[in-house]
């Protein structure tokens, strides 16, 4: 990966070429398992930064990761990671990528420090360097004295942290995290996301993160790639997607929500209500005044009034709705996982 610092007349600007040059490129990538089409015509150019890979279970996320890691042969199409061909240079790619698997992949009989050191050695580090680096990354992921404990005694949070340390031991240019916050409590989850964010911002590394928890993706990533039935249906920045959703004012009322709704409708405002929560389409600056007038006229208390900011969960559900998937929330995807086989 190449970065340039260019001095300019206004005192110097950091020009990060990764922002413009894609680190991952795929062109009409297709992967079939027998008659089953797992990845269909995937064409992408992913820049550096944090990218969320979204999609229901069985959509093709794992296949996509496997293709990027050069672990499986593609049926047709081409792709490159950091300029290396995924069809022929899988081992070079894997030496530049850190992969954090979703499932437990640690030896329970090893101490955390030895597990991370061994991961370094498996990449070709000599023992001494790998040990030194293991200490650094374990500290980075928040494991201090625990590094001298056997992994079998670890909590889920510590296991996830060790997996992340294993992936980071060689300072990879791209970090692929498969459900990094799986099974974590609020505190551990927050720390994991902070660590990933820091890896992108401070370490200037690219993070590809797949998760069913949209809040997590939104917290770390600035772009998403949505895969559905093996096809890449969305590849955009989150901000770009959110800006496309209709702007609304949300109010929470007390003392006659139905009356309030009728009053708003009579003012020709596009309104929808669920219990005491009413959302009104933001037409122009006068919409707020109209809402307040309606509240006065109906003698209803407006307890909260704010412009509703759609999040990634909203965007995801809208996209899934457009695709005809009956998903009420991203948590449904986890339920689906129990019934569907992963590709």
């Amino acid at each position: 990966m190449h970065r340039d610092y260019v001095n300019t007349s206004n005192g110097g600007t950091l020009v990060d070429e990764d922002q413009v040059e894609p680190v991952i490129t795929t062109k009409a990538l297709r992967k079939m398992y027998g008659p089953h089409l797992a990845l269909d015509d995937a064409t992408l150019e992913l820049p550096s930064g944090a990218i969320g890979i979204l999609g229901p279970n069985g959509a093709g996320k794992s296949t996509f990761f496997k293709c990027l890691l050069g672990l499986i042969g593609v049926t047709s199409g081409e792709g490159s990671v950091l300029g290396h061909d995924i069809r022929t240079e899988g081992d070079i790619i894997r030496s530049k990528i850190g992969y954090m698997p979703e499932y437990n992949s640690l030896d329970p009989g090893l101490f955390a420090i030895d597990q991370v050191r061994y991961c370094g050695e498996l990449l070709g580090m000599n023992s001494k360097v790998a040990m030194q680096r293991a200490h650094e990354v374990l500290e980075y992921v928040g494991l201090k004295d625990q590094r001298y404990r056997k992994i079998e005694t670890f909590s889920t949070g510590m296991i996830q942290a060790t997996k992340l340390a294993c992936a980071l031991v060689h300072d990879p240019e791209i970090l692929i995290c498969d459900e990094p916050t799986n099974g974590l409590d609020r505190r551990a989850r927050s720390f994991m996301l902070q660590t990933l964010r820091r890896t992108v911002k401070q370490g200037k590394r690219t993070v590809l993160m797949s998760s069913h928890v949209m809040d997590d993706v939104q917290e770390v990533c600035d772009r998403i790639v949505l895969i559905h039935n093996g096809r890449i249906v969305v590849h955009r920045s989150i901000g770009d997607l959110v800006s496309k959703v209709e702007r609304e004012i949300e109010i929470v009322v007390w003392g006659g929500a139905k009356k309030m709704e009728e009053a708003l409708i009579s003012m020709d405002l596009k309104t929808r209500r669920l219990g005491r929560v009413i959302r009104i389409k933001l037409e122009d600056d006068s919409t707020v005044n109209q809402i307040l007038e309606a509240a006065i006229s109906t003698d209803v208390q407006v307890r909260q009034l704010y412009e509703y900011e759609p999040d990634l969960e909203d965007v995801f559900l809208l996209i899934m709705e457009k695709l005809g998937s009956e998903i009420k929330g991203s948590s449904d995807l986890i339920a689906i996982a129990n019934g569907d086989a992963e590709i």
Partner: protein
């Protein structure tokens, strides 16, 4: 389908109720969230880049080898072998060296007693064959148990713990993975079986101050025994490792291996007792090895069927075991096991 085709412009987001689902004016009670107490840990998280260079393929492969082999000597930092497993392997190694003190004794005693001890434990075709291929105690109690202990968890542990992902998400190919596991297991078996054989032979030379003439006489027999020992190590490793690769349980692999070795031997023995034919011994890995070993050391063959049958049988056993091993390692997953 490109991103432009999924247009969410002007769409409305989902709604969630506030406080409760109703819209009545009933009394509401507030739930105040308790703030979690801070543990006050001081932690300065800093991403530290690494500028080093990764080593070549042999370093990765050596890491796998060392991880598995050094684990037997010190579990600190390497593959964890249960202390009882390590102790048993040590006991097996020491038992395999048991002729050495007898050789020492025979060299000390001399005379008739020494000659008796020398006949029993000294260097000759029968004793060299017995050191590697004798049924009792070596192929009944020592080598199969050693193999079961060593190869039992070699691959099945990776299946059970999902640690295969650690290998295959790194520049370790399946060929390297399989080869290094194989070499690791074979090295441990080889150390106990072949190295003890080597020590036995050299100690006989040292204790009895044998000269070149003895070496000239016995070296071809000794080398025949080495070849037989290596064939045994390869065959046992192939069968054991293939069993380890098909399950998630080290217990299954170990018991499976012992069952194959002893089961086939027992069945062939029963058939021989009833029908007076040794033909079914071609199904027993031990007997095929013993048959070939007899030939290599120049001993009279005590099986009725031709040597070529045992030879072909060993090749088939190894081929099937390695084919199974390769096929099962190919199916090891990176993303989910």
């Amino acid at each position: 389908m490109s991103s432009e085709e999924i247009d969410i412009g002007g769409s409305q987001t989902r709604m969630e109720v506030a406080f409760g689902a109703g819209d009545s004016d009933s009394e509401a009670s507030a739930v105040v969230a308790k703030k979690e107490a801070s543990l006050g840990a001081i932690f300065n998280q800093n991403y530290r880049p690494w500028e080093g260079t990764l080593g070549p393929r042999w370093m990765r492969n050596y890491a796998i080898f060392r991880h598995h082999v050094y684990g037997l000597i010190t579990s600190k930092g390497h593959r964890h072998y249960h202390p009882m497993v390590r102790l048993l392997i040590l006991v097996i190694f020491l038992v395999s060296l048991s002729p050495i003190p007898m050789l020492f004794l025979s060299s000390l005693l001399g005379g008739e007693d020494g000659s008796f001890l020398d006949k029993m434990w000294g260097i000759n075709r029968y004793n060299l064959w017995g050191q590697v291929l004798g049924f009792f105690p070596r192929n009944l109690c020592l080598w199969p148990l050693l193999t079961a202990l060593v190869v039992g968890g070699m691959i099945s542990d990776d299946r059970q713990n999902g640690t295969s992902a650690l290998y295959f998400s790194r520049p370790v190919t399946r060929l390297d993975y399989t080869a290094m596991k194989y070499v690791s297991a074979a090295t441990i078996l080889g150390f106990v079986i072949v190295f003890s054989y080597f020590l036995y032979y050299t100690s006989a030379i040292v204790f009895r101050s044998e000269g070149w003439a003895f070496l000239e006489d016995t070296l071809p027999i000794f080398l025949g025994g080495v070849l037989a020992g290596l064939t045994l190590v390869i065959t046992y490793t192939s069968i054991g490792l293939s069993l380890s690769s098909i399950s998630q349980s080290r217990f299954f692999a170990a018991i499976g291996f012992l069952s194959i070795i002893f089961g086939t031997k027992l069945v062939a023995f029963l058939v021989e007792s009833q029908f007076e034919t040794t033909f079914l011994y071609i199904l027993s890995p031990y007997d095929c090895l013993a048959h070939i070993g007899q030939y290599l050391l120049g001993l009279p063959l005590n099986y009725d069927h031709p040597l070529s049958f045992s030879f072909v049988s060993i090749i088939v056993m190894n081929s099937v075991a390695i084919a199974l091993l390769v096929s099962r390692v190919s199916s090891l997953e990176v993303t989910r096991e």
